[in-house]
């Protein structure tokens, strides 16, 4: 009996995979071969470009980056100092940053690669009977040598802040509405941003300081859809 169930499950999985219903995944080396040939050690993460109406998104989001990039095994420059050095070199806005050739960052910082992050979503959606918080980012890593894109990923995470109707009836509904309002108003964006960082950076080949350095080429963790980014728009 048990064997039959297992075989049935296997058959279903195979069917799913062959009919393309399963999400398409690539290995790290399939998706980002240049990362393995260039092997950057130092990554300069520029202050994130904010494409949302939340004025504080960049400031809040930047605080998550030192730990996120450091954990991936790369040398990452402290974000406070990056802003300072850029100001000294005459670059005062993230819009200007997009126009600076990547090679300049090798000159200013000695960085092997530079990461451009765009915050696409930093939203709260509240519609009384439900709510959610959405955070979405696009990441592009360019070589400061050739200017080529070494890694890129786009991801969005949604946290549902809808309350639950436990009691049932009118009272239960009223409680749920209040819970939804409170949860939606108080949901912190940063933990959601960390989820996006986590999921996205998982697809990046790890750097020299990570224990899995040079062993992750065949990790099939890259969602193909996540790599489809219009990089010309940058």
């Amino acid at each position: 009996m048990k064997n039959n169930t297992f075989l049935l499950a296997l058959l279903c999985l195979t069917l799913l995979a062959t009919t393309g219903c399963a999400p398409k995944l690539m290995t790290k080396s399939e998706a980002f071969p240049d990362m393995y040939s260039k092997r950057p050690l130092t990554i300069l993460v520029l202050p994130a470009l904010n494409n949302t109406t939340a004025a504080d998104a960049t400031e809040l989001f930047n605080t998550t980056l030192t730990e996120a990039i450091g954990s991936m095994g790369y040398y990452s420059y402290p974000s406070m100092m990056i802003a300072e050095v850029l100001k000294q070199e005459g670059i005062s806005s993230t819009e200007m940053l997009a126009n600076v050739p990547p090679q300049k960052f090798r000159q200013f910082f000695g960085a092997d690669a530079v990461m451009y992050i765009t915050i696409n979503k930093w939203d709260t959606s509240y519609y009384v009977i439900g709510g959610n918080v959405t955070v979405g980012m696009t990441y592009v890593l360019k070589s400061t040598d050739s200017g080529d894109i070494l890694w890129k990923y786009k991801h969005e995470a949604v946290v549902d802040t809808t309350g639950s109707n436990r009691g049932g009836g009118i009272v239960g509904l009223a409680v749920m509405l209040v819970e939804t309002a409170v949860k939606t108003a108080t949901q912190d964006y940063v933990p959601v941003a960390k989820i996006v960082n986590g999921r996205s950076l998982t697809t990046m080949p790890v750097g020299k300081y990570n224990p899995f350095y040079n062993q992750d080429q065949s990790w099939q963790v890259v969602l193909v859809d996540g790599t489809k980014i219009d990089t010309e728009a940058r």
């Binding site: 809040l60 030192t66 730990e67 450091g70 420059y77 402290p78 406070m80 050095v85 960085a111 940063v190």
Partner: protein
């Protein structure tokens, strides 16, 4: 009977502590990110103090609480920068040099910052 119980308990503790040790992160960050966030949300003396305290905690625990036994990239530099902002130039240079020591790839960048704190004497 009691001896046997004691022995079993000690053995269990050893095994468990081994399990805990295996869970050590590569880098110990402590409350580094949280304190940075708190400072950004409400810049002031109190949050700055917390930030410095969390960095000092990361530095103190790096050896015991991480498998790399290193202070993570950028942390010494962060502290150095905070010292420089407060006019504590000697401490700043000390911590910047520590950053360079552990991560020599940061030299170009660190040297630039240090030269702004301690400009080379032009009279020479």
């Amino acid at each position: 009977m009691k001896m046997r119980l004691l022995l079993i308990l000690s053995a269990a503790l050893l095994v468990l502590s081994g399990c805990v040790a295996a869970q050590k992160p590569y880098y110990y960050y402590g409350s580094y990110t949280a304190s940075q966030l708190a400072y950004v949300k409400a810049p002031g003396d109190e949050t700055l103090k917390q930030k410095i305290a969390s960095i000092e905690d990361v530095i103190a625990k790096a050896d015991q609480e991480s498998t790399s036994k290193r202070v993570p990239p950028g942390v010494y530099a962060d502290l150095a920068y905070l010292m420089a902002l407060n006019g504590k130039n000697k401490e700043a240079v000390l911590y910047f040099n520590k950053e360079k020591e552990i991560y020599p790839e940061s030299s170009l960048f660190i040297d630039k910052i240090v030269s702004k704190i301690n400009p080379p004497e032009k009279s020479k």
